[in-house]
Amino acid sequence: MSKRTNIRVITLKHLILIAGSFFMLFPFFWTLSTSFKSLKEIFKNPFSLLPANPTFGNYVAIFTKIPFARYLLNSFVVASLTTLLQIATAILSAYAFSRLEFKGRDLIFYTFLATMMIPGQLLMIPQYLVVSSFGWVNTYQGLIIPYTATAVTTFFLRQFFLTIPKDLEDAAVIDGCNELQILTKIFIPLLKPAVLTIAIFSFMWSWNGYFWPLLIVNVPNMRTVQLGLAMFRTEGGMQWGQFMAGTVVATLPILIAYFIAQRHFVKSITLTGLKG
């Protein structure tokens, strides 16, 4: 290929990729732009792409008119605790599945894995009944506990445990360490990056979850951010400026986490096929 056609090809590539980026970014841009417009400006046609007189009015409104701060707090509590517990149970079982030998190990492991095939909605109604029989409707434990063990997290960590050479443990056993010490002193420090990656995913799944909170929360002050946003949309009439402000606030934490840990995200998808 001559140099000139090469430059042409690269320019064309960039043009197409920029057009693609435009479609990917436009909904974000338009949401953000609308969230800073006053009611009057939102209804104006011809429309303007950027707010003429940017205002924080919509943001003030969602934090004063509806308990959006409470929704955020609920989501933070639920997502962080879910992540923490999910990682804890997964580390223990991934260790057992990859390192300990016991009767029925593989059968149990495959049974765990098979749960990934069950569509979530199939289980939700009986799960709801179980949770309500515990008296956990409208509680944090109701939102958190059912999600504290998942096959995906266990499977993901097990794959990483398998990559650690056995010699390391043997040395520790000779030094008189028991399994729990081996796990906390050798495995966890070595697997910090993997644990962090899966933690970010767990947090994201939990933060973005919608169907489960929809079922088990029916009082406003226990709503998570996604549920609060959806309810606000169906109950709030035509407050588009406020809807968009709510959408921005609900999305920002995940986008920030994504920007910080971008490399981990992409790498672990290519390694294991985790899905957003």
Partner: protein
């Protein structure tokens, strides 16, 4: 105590937290759901055993089959475009030394991490019939406002309306509202398939292309005969993932068309079963529908394994 028993006890000790949660919140509910699907139950009175009646009712209900059709429209709309654009962008981004590759990748992946609810809010606003920017732009170019989310006519029927031909219901195509929801699905999937395809492309050794170039193969030919076959494992993986997730779409439907769309044309299976359970309290019936959905997903997955995996080049 012998050491084998000790080891077994240790093993069970380590898996006990996960196992407890899974038994209580997955395995027991699964059995319970199955049991319930043979009962009639409204959550307040005593459950009545009705045998296969719920399944029969579902399979003979027009509403159920319509919801299956809309789900199928959704899956068949989302799947090919998510794969096509993912592959397209992955090929453009293949050269890691190109300027801005990292930024493009970051941008394309942003919709994947966004919650379906938030994304649906944004799309809902863009496609509002009176104030949405989609219609503002159409007006600007002298076009007529489109009622994106309220017109129940299928898009194929809309096209054939120009010739005064009316199609049978099955062939009328998804309503515009469902098309908008399909667009949203594609928008959220493309970044993911781009990343998966990029990983696939990186594993193809350049020697294949060099050999093909020596044989005088054109770029198009080597794409068709080398790239595409060697990417088939990625394609297969993506098809399975997207099929399973698309069959379960719910959140965006509820945000964009809270009542199931014009003439219920966006009422996909999960939406239908949600309403059966929590608006009409037909719990047993809803569970039967859920099992039928699981059957559908299984069938689709088995179909893909049987007929497509054979073509996966390994």
């Amino acid at each position: 105590m012998n050491s084998k028993l000790k080891k077994t006890i240790k093993g069970y000790f380590f898996i006990s937290p996960s196992a407890t949660v899974m038994i209580v919140f997955i395995f027991f509910p699964l059995l319970y759901a199955f049991f319930m699907s043979f009962h009639q139950w409204d959550m307040s009175s005593q459950a009545i055993f009705v045998g296969f009646q719920n399944y029969v009712l579902a399979l003979t209900s027009t509403q159920f089959w319509n919801s299956m059709f809309y789900t199928l429209y959704y899956v068949l709309g989302v799947l090919p475009f998510s794969l096509f654009f993912g592959l397209f962008f992955a090929i453009l981004l293949r050269d890691g030394t190109m300027r801005g590759v990292g930024i493009y990748r970051m941008i394309y992946f942003m919709p994947v991490v966004t919650s379906p609810i938030a994304a649906a809010m944004g799309f809902n606003w863009i496609f509002q019939s009176q104030m949405g920017i989609a219609n503002h732009i159409i007006e600007k170019f002298g076009g007529q406002d489109v009622s994106w989310l309220t017109n129940p006519t299928g898009i194929l029927q809309m096209f054939f309306n120009n010739f005064n031909i009316s199609l049978p219901t099955i062939l009328q195509g998804p309503s515009l509202a469902l098309v908008v929801i399909i667009l949203l699905g594609i928008w959220q999937n493309v970044g993911y398939s781009t990343v998966v395809y990029l990983a696939g492309l990186q594993s193809i050794s350049s020697t294949y292309y060099e050999a093909a170039a020596l044989d005088g193969a054109s770029e198009w030919k080597s794409f068709w005969n080398i790239t595409l076959p060697l990417l088939s494992p990625s394609t297969f993986f993506l098809m399975i993932m997207f099929t399973i997730s698309s069959f379960q779409v719910f959140g965006p439907i509820q945000i964009m068309t809270p009542s199931g769309g014009p003439l219920n044309t966006t009422s996909v299976v999960v939406f239908y079963l949600y309403r059966q359970a929590f608006s009409y309290y037909n719990m047993g019936y809803a569970m039967a529908v859920a099992f039928l959905l699981m059957g559908m997903i299984l069938l689709a997955t088995i179909f893909q394994f049987k007929f497509l995996e054979r073509r996966v080049y390994e």
